[in-house]
């Protein structure tokens, strides 16, 4: 049972905008129930835990070992509690929500959304520990990546990390988000919001390697101003459940969004991607490519919606979801949708679900490559297409290794086919 008094205690002494937000979140939380499959947004997954069986972490638990592939962590969010671990690069301001809300309530209101449309978002608003705020000031180009290490470690808890990234006009930055957790049974519902001003450019790489007993319910919200552009890499490898609910608002004229993502599910993992891209400005473009593999009894879901508003003339929008189903017991569902209210658009969507192609295997065999190696080469190639495009190439090596490890384990256990 979540202890409501924790929210009450936290909001005491918080700046008004933050306290009000908590209060509203708490009210929404009290009015919410666990989602069921009757709800369109949760149609494809059967949540096998209930929030009432969990508790809230009151302090940060013991940190995990240092992550692989990144040199310097800028901020850590452990069980929802923020610690800034190094000096921010010039032109970058980092702090907690309380600090931001105290300094600049207007900015806080602009970059932290009022969103409580399900129990986890409401819970996040009500119970979030600190909230991490990253602001890159106008015209600043940050060379080094800002690495944020999000960890959930305490058994039996649900934690609510919340990160707001704001790029002022013409700012440019690269952010690496690591989502990790212990092997304990726990849940985590992180919310990441990115708000880009005019002409801002954000390169984001998000790598999810939750522990095997984690119920991960992630949310990402992106708002793009005029001529703003975001390139995102998304990696989903861990969790009993690894869900990402992504919504991108291309509000500004000339804004663009590019996503290259991959997931690999094994065992009984469920990896659920839900994406809504709202094209609202004129001359906007988006391109989404998500590739997934499932083996053993794992399941993946892709639900994508491209929505082009009536005034969004000269839009270009593409979404592609490609799935490799490697074992008989594994399952991939792909549901791409278009909702086009404007006729001046170039749009495309596609999805594929199937095993490795025999024609490809035959071509490799014709060059002397035996079946096992051919399968490895093809799976590696399948993922390399997106791994090569992750904005933070420093994490590409570890991601490639983990994907290969998963595949070789399946191959050695004879689970393919």
């Amino acid at each position: 049972m979540l202890d409501r008094s924790i929210a009450e205690r936290r909001l005491t002494g918080e700046p008004a905008v933050l306290a009000e937000r908590r209060q509203a979140g708490l009210a929404a939380f009290e009015a919410s129930a666990m989602p069921t499959q009757a709800d369109e947004r949760w149609k494809y997954i059967d949540l096998d835990f209930t929030i009432d069986d969990l508790t809230l972490p009151d302090v940060a638990g013991a940190e995990l070992a240092a992550p692989i592939g990144v040199e310097r962590v800028s901020a850590r969010v452990v069980d929802g509690f923020v610690s800034i671990t190094g000096d921010a690069p010039g032109g970058v301001r980092m702090g907690t929500f309380a600090e931001l809300a105290g300094d600049d309530g207007e900015l806080f209101g602009r970059v932290v959304a009022e969103r409580s449309d399900d129990i986890f978002l409401a819970g996040n608003a009500a119970f979030s520990g600190d909230g991490l705020f990253v602001q890159v000031s106008r015209n600043t180009v940050v060379a080094d990546p800002i690495v944020i290490d999000v960890q959930s470690v305490s058994a039996g808890t649900i934690s609510f990390p919340h990160i707001a990234i704001a790029l002022d006009d013409n700012a440019q930055a690269s952010v690496v988000l690591l989502f990790r957790s212990s092997e304990a049974e726990l849940a985590v519902a992180p919310v990441v919001e990115s708000t880009l001003g005019s002409g801002a450019r954000l390169f984001m790489t998000s790598v999810q390697t939750w522990g095997r007993n984690t119920q991960g319910l992630g949310y990402q919200r992106v708002r793009l101003g005029r001529d703003a552009s975001m390139k995102m890499g998304e990696v989903g490898l861990g969790g009993a459940l690894g869900r990402l609910d992504l919504s991108v608002d291309l509000d500004g004229d000339g804004s663009s969004y590019l996503l290259n993502g991959l997931s690999f599910g094994d065992g009984q993992q469920v990896l659920d991607y839900r994406m809504v891209l709202n094209h609202r400005g004129r001359n906007t473009s988006s391109d989404v490519l998500l590739k997934g593999a499932v083996e053993d009894q794992a399941e993946s879901i892709f639900t994508g919606l491209l929505r082009i508003e009536e005034q969004a003339t000269n839009t270009s929008a593409f979404e592609n979801n490609r799935n490799l189903v490697l074992s008989a017991g594994a399952k991939a569902q792909s549901v791409p949708n278009l909702e086009i209210l404007c006729d001046d658009v170039v749009c495309g969507h596609g999805s594929t679900v199937g095993p490795l192609e025999e024609e490809h295997l035959y071509y490799l065999a014709s060059r002397g490559i035996g079946r096992e190696r051919a399968e490895r080469v093809l799976v590696k190639g399948f993922f390399d297409e997106v791994i090569d495009k992750l904005p933070a190439q420093a994490v590409a090596g570890p991601v490639r290794d983990e994907v290969e490890r998963k595949f070789v384990a399946a191959q050695e256990a004879g689970r393919l086919g």
Binding site: Y362, Y363, L364, A365, S366, G368, I369, V377, L378, K380
Partner: protein, 243 residues
């Protein structure tokens, strides 16, 4: 001295339908042979059967450098030294040509340093260097795809190279380029068999012997004059002469 490729009384069928009906053929090392034949004569089936595609019921013999090919799976045949160039090479998105070649060469036991040396030398020779870090066959023109097939052979150095419909779909410049690439592959340790239904590529290539295939067997073998005869009178004229 063994022959590079020796085929004796080869029969192949799919279900009840017999496609190869007792085909015999010899390709010595160091030579380039061409098989010509009309559509439906079984040329592509011959390629598939030699490469070990699994849909056929096969009898007869096929030997590569004296070793039996039939019964071995495709990858083993390739490692024995039989490499086929496809009529329509498949595009493999994400697998870079250079990685693909390294994997294939490693599987065949070619030393890594030697592989790199060949990649540099042949990449230059066949103008393939700029394609090395691109996906295998992806977005290549017809001629580039054929050149890529020959480039791969230059790395793997087969004992028998079979090029299926080597000039189909190519414009005249590309045909000449591909012919030059085949000519460049000629050597004492390889027997080359090209398969075509047009004679035009033979204008740019010195073939040691031409074989005409009809209804699943070789009906006539000869020198360059055979191509000239076919060019003049087509397969019908040849068919009449043979009757």
């Amino acid at each position: 001295m063994n022959l590079a490729l020796e085929i004796i009384d080869l029969h192949a069928s799919v279900g009840e339908v017999e496609i190869l009906k007792g085909l015999s053929l010899e390709v010595p090392f160091g030579q380039i042979h061409a098989i010509m034949g009309p559509n439906g004569s079984g040329k592509s089936t011959l390629c598939h059967v030699l490469a070990g595609k699994e849909v056929y019921t096969v009898t007869g013999q096929a030997r590569l450098d004296g070793r039996d090919l039939l019964g071995e799976p495709t990858d083993v045949r390739a490692r024995m030294g039989l490499i086929q160039g496809f009529q329509y090479p498949v595009e493999i998105r994400g697998v870079k040509l250079i990685d693909f070649l390294r994997e294939a060469a490693d599987e065949s036991g070619i030393e890594a340093a030697e592989v790199e040396r060949r990649i540099v030398a042949s990449g230059d020779q066949f103008d393939m260097t700029r394609f090395l870090t691109r996906s295998v066959n992806q977005d290549l023109s017809g001629g580039e795809k054929k050149r890529s097939e020959i480039f791969q052979m230059a790395i793997l150095q087969p004992k028998v190279a079979i090029l299926d419909e080597i000039d189909s779909g190519l414009d005249i410049d590309a045909v000449r380029e591909v012919a030059e690439a085949v000519e460049a592959m000629r050597g004492p340790d390889v027997g080359i068999l090209i398969i075509t239904h047009y004679s035009r590529i033979l204008r740019y290539l010195t073939t040691d012997r031409i074989h005409v295939m009809m209804e699943g067997r070789i009906v006539e073998s000869g020198g360059a004059e055979l191509a000239t005869e076919l060019e003049a009178g087509g397969y019908e004229a040849l068919r009449s002469r043979l009757k």
